[in-house]
């Protein structure tokens, strides 16, 4: 039962859900792209991704200085849960907005994203 609550705890945070939604649209995303989407510090994003990985929903792969994340679609036991979430997200205005933001982000070279995040303020005071 701890396994089950672990999955739901992982899904019970808005920013984690947003990152998961992003991974549903794109096979693989690197940390800086997810950071750019949800506008938090790298440390915060890293912690969130750690929770998603611990839940078994997401896997990561390290390549050079970058870490890439992807949804664990190969796990049969999560299939219908993931489908359900995808269906729910399809009718969510928030998710739609993020999807648009993501297409903009994907137009950038990841190198530039990283530089931008470390250089000037990564999270402009709103």
């Amino acid at each position: 039962m701890e396994l089950l609550t672990g999955v739901f705890k992982a899904l019970a945070d808005r920013n984690r859900l947003r990152m998961l939604a992003a991974l549903m649209r794109y096979d693989e995303l690197c940390a800086c792209q997810l950071i750019e989407l949800i506008q938090v510090t790298g440390a915060t994003a890293s912690r969130h991704m750690g929770v998603l990985i611990a839940s078994g929903l997401v896997a990561s792969r390290k390549e050079g200085r970058w870490v890439y994340y992807r949804l664990c679609r190969e796990k049969a036991e999560y299939h219908s849960l993931i489908s359900w979430i995808e269906a729910r997200l399809k009718i969510s205005p928030d998710a739609e907005k993020d999807a648009k933001t993501l297409t903009t982000i994907m137009a950038f070279d990841p190198e530039d994203l990283c530089r931008k995040q470390h250089g000037e303020s990564c999270c402009p005071p709103k």
Copy 2:
């Protein structure tokens, strides 16, 4: 997206999940039966049920002095989520143990349960 995180927050608590599992087995349960199962005060159980109701997963019905809770199986949008949870619970030892406890509880007259809870210690120091 708040709707979605609301559902997951409701499911992200062990005791709420146990109460939900109970409602999956029995069409309708009254408060005192759920209280007996998870061994918390009535106030705590009431709060938990409030969260489940707010999420839309559970409905309640008042009859006399008792309140009866049931799973909202008629909501099409939750069908596959509920099925997924049921499947996961089927292979959970914790859930199996609760299921046995429940059969014992169901053998009692609810009247007796309530009296017991109010009389001597409802939560015996383990």
